[in-house]
Symmetry: C2
Subunit: 715 residues, 2 copies
């Protein structure tokens, strides 16, 4: 069901309406009247007949007209009755302000569960609970404590009322832009992030979606929707609760599963979301993305009227991964005609006093720079807007002239300009003009740099999004009958851990290269196999009762001679019996010793918020000490696998190093994608570890594999 009736309601009931000025039930009605909401307002309170000149109803069911939305300010215990009445009345949705639910601990979680059951039973959708409310800015439907939210083209989805207030204030103070909607998502108990996203994707007035998130209930659905949304509109997100202390703080705040891990950041970026870490850059990033075209080629020019700002901006943009290419000879020549001899014209461009007596020169420089086909966008840093303040009043009109020219350059072209001005907060007319043309103006240099960089980041994503996965798992779609049997059999035998032989076979069925190996049941069989393959072999115990093979004395390496193999076989079996009397011994795995190569590991697990994820890293210290690993939410394609491999810091080791030849990355990519298929095929799998996995110049050797099934799968 669409959220249209809830977020664009034509009528609102205020349940808990009041005549007491300190109550939300009064303030909400007053605000709707003051801000001139055009829909119908129905106060509901059995004790009053009129409030603020409006007729007051004893119950929501007494209202004759249609009611789209109910704003409920009464305490938690009144909710079942009210939800029932809303159901009877056919109300589409309710906003529940009351707290005391999931955010307070396990009892609250239980209450929240019941609340949602009530809402579902009555066919009513629910925003909150524990929310600061909702605003539809263009319809003047303000159900929150802030006055006069700034109107604009950004939808705001927020899990903190104070952050919303911060972002509203920032828009009012620093910008001409504002919001279409504000949703206080609260505990996200019923309506989820992805549903709001879907709604905003379709809302014409919304050009960007700004999110502050502490925790998320259905990360996967969110990713799926975000992946669709970001092709049309940018999403800008700050995720707090990253650190241990932050997590604790968020947990006591929203009651959501807080602390989305490193996995989340990668996944968000793959879904095209612009992830912001510094809260001071959040609004500006959204404003810029909502109003300017993305940068198509990751290349930016800097135009400055002083070396210091140019140098710092160049540092920051480089750190942010944006290229600052040398301007073409043609462009440099044009700039030389405009600017004095001392100017730097390569990029950054430093006007070296060339704008002092006529700041309209900025616009001519900007025009020349943006005409350079290699330049995707322009960042202007320094004093523009303040020439009339700092130098002479007479420069004012020249600055305004420049603003009009630059504004039209952006409006009529396809390349953005972002402006850093020391005089931003003084709001001179020329800077208001820039804002009129939707050119954002910031006084913080870092913020200005970040803003132009997100245009590049979004442009980079749009150029490449087809390579990305859509986060949709087709459970079971690629399963094989033999694979299903292996898993069924383990479940039947009450085993959660597959035998090494089973795990390897499962991988093999799906196309993974597994060395030829056998499960020997006699010493003779083991020796015969070794002789046949003519290589050193390893012997490993295979028993569902022995998970730690080495600890049980169940592994012997580098065996070649018949006599040695036979002895090892017997000792392994003896050790196993001693280690775990009565163990169900299925035999001894005989496998060729892996040739030398580079050790890597692949792992998968089920993330509480995102479902199955996959991890890749170099083995040994790289994983265990340096945590040099990359993650992806499954499924992944072979091209995603390529990026995963390249992403680890030690990746270049796979290209060959100190006499070690380059590794077979093609086979590795294929194996990663096979792992993805495997997990997608068998929803019973909880986690999988391919460790160690040895990469060779050609091919690879999977030395050990471990697959663990989920708990409580019915037989």
């Amino acid at each position: 069901m669409s959220l249209k009736r809830i977020l664009n309601p034509e009528s609102v009931a205020i349940v808990g309406a009041s005549k007491d000025e300190t109550k939300r039930g009064f303030q909400a009605i007053r605000r709707l009247l003051e801000e001139k909401y055009e829909g119908q307002i129905f106060p509901v309170n059995p004790k009053e007949s009129r409030i603020l000149g409006l007729k007051c109803y004893a119950a929501i069911t007494d209202i004759k007209d249609n009611v789209d939305l109910a704003y409920i300010t009464t305490p938690a215990k009144t909710l079942p009755t009210i939800l029932k009445a809303c159901g009877e009345k056919g109300v589409a949705g309710v906003i529940v302000i009351a707290g005391g639910f999931g955010e307070t601990g396990s009892e609250g979680k239980e209450r929240e569960k019941k609340l949602i059951e009530e809402a579902r039973k009555n066919n009513v959708r629910l925003i909150g609970p524990n929310t600061s409310g909702m605003i539809n800015v263009h319809e003047k439907l303000n159900l929150v404590g802030f006055r006069e939210p700034p109107r604009g083209n950004i939808a705001l989805l927020c899990q903190s009322g104070n952050m919303a207030l911060t972002l509203m204030t920032e828009a009012s103070v620093k910008s001409f832009q504002g919001y279409t909607y504000y949703i206080g998502v609260g505990n996200e108990a019923d309506i989820r992030f992805h549903e709001y996203l879907d709604f905003f994707s379709q809302d014409e007035k919304t050009k960007a979606i700004l999110m502050y998130v502490e925790g998320m209930r259905d990360g996967r659905r969110f990713l799926q929707q975000a992946y669709k949304t970001t092709r049309e509109k940018p999403i800008i997100l700050l995720k707090s609760g990253r650190t241990t202390t932050g997590k604790k703080s968020a947990g006591s705040h929203t009651g959501a599963l807080a602390g989305i891990s490193e996995v989340a950041k990668t996944a968000f970026k793959r879904a095209g979301i612009i992830v912001i870490e510094n809260p001071d850059e959040l609004f500006s990033a959204a404003e810029t993305l909502a109003n300017l075209p993305p940068i198509k080629n990751n290349k930016v020019a800097i135009l400055a009227d002083g070396g210091g700002h140019a140098t710092i901006a160049a540092d920051i943009l480089s750190d942010l991964g944006v290229e600052i290419p040398r301007l073409s000879e043609h462009t440099q020549n044009k700039l030389r005609q405009i600017l004095p001899e001392a100017a730097s014209v390569r990029n950054p461009v430093d006007v070296a006093g060339g704008t002092d007596s006529d700041p309209s020169v900025f616009a001519y420089c900007a025009k020349a720079i943006l005409k350079d086909s290699d330049i995707g966008g322009l960042l202007i840093v320094g004093l523009f807007g303040g020439y009339s303040i700092r130098f002479a009043k007479s420069l004012e009109l020249m600055e305004e002239d420049a603003a009009h020219m630059m504004g039209k350059l952006v409006r009529d072209g396809k390349k953005p300009i972002v402006l850093h001005s020391l005089y931003s907060s003084a709001k001179p007319h020329s800077l208001n003009l820039m804002r009129y043309y939707k050119i954002p103006v910031y006084d913080a240099l870092n913020v200005a740099c970040k803003s132009i960089s997100v245009l590049a980041e979004y442009g980079n994503y749009l150029r490449r999004y087809k390579e990305k996965a859509n986060f949709v798992l087709k459970w079971g779609s690629k399963s094989k009958p033999e694979g299903k049997d292996i898993i069924k059999n383990a479940i039947r035998e009450n085993r959660r851990v597959l035998l090494e032989t089973e795990a390897k076979r499962l991988l093999q069925i799906h196309g993974a290269p597994i060395n030829k190996e056998i499960l020997a049941t006699t010493a003779g069989e083991a020796a015969a196999f070794a002789e046949k393959i003519g290589k050193d072999v390893v012997l490993k115990i295979v028993s569902p009762d022995i998970l730690h093979k080495s600890d049980s004395g169940g592994v012997r390496l580098h065996l070649r001679k018949k006599k040695d193999i036979e002895r090892a076989f017997k000792e392994i079996v003896q050790n196993a019996r001693k280690y775990s009397p009565g163990a169900d011994i299925r035999g001894v795995l005989v496998a060729p010793m892996a040739e030398d190569g580079v050790e890597v590991i692949i792992g998968t697990k089920n993330d509480a918020q995102f479902g199955p994820v996959i991890m890749f890293g170099l083995g040994g210290i790289m994983v265990e000490i340096l945590k040099d690993v990359s993650f992806r939410v499954l499924p992944i394609s072979t091209s995603a696998a390529k990026y995963m491999i390249e992403e680890i810091r030690s990746s270049s080791l796979l290209n060959g190093f100190r006499g070690i030849p380059p590794c077979d990355k093609k086979t590795l990519r294929r194996l990663l994608s096979i792992c993805s298929d495997l997990i997608e095929s068998y929803p019973e799998i909880e986690e999988m570890d391919l460790n160690p996995l040895i990469l060779h110049e050609e091919g690879l050797s999977l030395v050990d594999a471990r697959i663990i099934l989920k708990e409580n799968i019915p037989k």
Copy 2:
């Protein structure tokens, strides 16, 4: 010579004084008059008799009174004559505005060198050239283009006029604090950063020193002075030109050797300098450090009136390495008495509406929190200051009450409070009161977090500075006669690279553990040595003409048998003769093969700005692929060596890993300090490489060592 006469002059000559309003020579005089400089002003221009009511002199030598400082606005070519006149007149210093020197390339560098020669010859010190000028704010001596610089307790040393303007504007707009001095360092051609630092260290009004640096001419002297200064006063520094593009931009701007490397950051921090990366956090960090006591125990509490800000602040502070400990039970109980039941009282503290009807409650919370002996400082985040704006006018006096209480808490106690307020820019009276008590107020959350974190960072430094080195090299102080002979001998033989045997011997003389090895001149000698030590040996060619031993076929490993050794000896010598006919072959080094262990490397080199520096890292991919190394400016103590070792990401590998026993870190630390002694002993050394160096459970094996001498050392 002290800079007192130059920076606190009692009289100033304006050379190039003018009646033309657009000229600096007019503007400077007008500003001095307008801002009421109390010293004497002497316009100098042969063509005028009076300017702005002041008598004008034809030449500086015509002035009868004493002249402390000359501000020179005339072009570069006039400087020799003017400097000569200044010398005759006994002027202490000059400010040279003119550009066209080092910043423009090699010809400019030559001009700059001559300029400084002139100044020295005439015994005149020089600020600049290519500077925006200088301000002594308290004496109202303003020789820069900005009007009315804000007065305060921060000295500003800056290599960009625009950054200075930014920092001045920020102080005026966002703070009640300001500056004691501004120095436009310009090309730093004569007076260097360390001299200004020394002056500010002794200036009573200056409580903190704020620096924007693009490049530095004498990094070592700067470090030495900073090490002294930071014990008394904090230094806050932003270094730009970090990235390749940034470096280029800085190079064309100040002409200094731009782009201090990663070495610099570590060195700055060891000297107690607060290094800032984000320009938007620069002024706030200085303001906070100039006005509040440092935090002694790295532990901070967060007080919030909303979960969102608390969570983000906790994240940011954790990332910045500040601890946010749980408050004591006693403190929690006190807070519970003040706040409603729903409040979080552990830390972050969330008042949960407890300040809504009476914001003076903030002060009672702050008092309880700062009394907690485990808490070193308090960050308040959210809406304080805006309760009267957001909720009701009647709350205004309660906010003011809170401000007075919190102000006195900070003034009379020894713990700082930093305030984040969404309403900072609205400047309500309560926030002005906070500022009156020198409590900084910021509307950017990141900035507020950074500000409290630098108080912790500075406190951490002051607690531990005795462990730090003072950056003073006592050249030659630890040298040994035999060591000197080795080096002298190489120089006599025109060799820049010491033989491996010489390098190892030099290390051994200084106490480094070197395995027993010999320089064999016959095959028999080599074999006899191997037999004596009873281990596998390695044979390596020793010849000043063969630097790449392996390439020449000059290395043989794992030899034990007499026959094999004798053959290897002969082959090595033959290979050497073939590889480099006529090579001076000194013999073959016979050394025991190093036992297994962890490979590390130690290197030293001469940094252009800091002189000798040392590098440590794990060998192989850790250095070559992951660049996982740590640096120090020499000399270092064994305790500095300890931190160097711990600093690399892969450090825990040295504690044992996968069957590799823990390494002998004690011997490693000693070796690092021996390397430091060695470099300090012999100024002839350009660089040294101990690579590979194998660490064992006990002791270590230096497999190869290479020492390169400086070029052009006289024999």
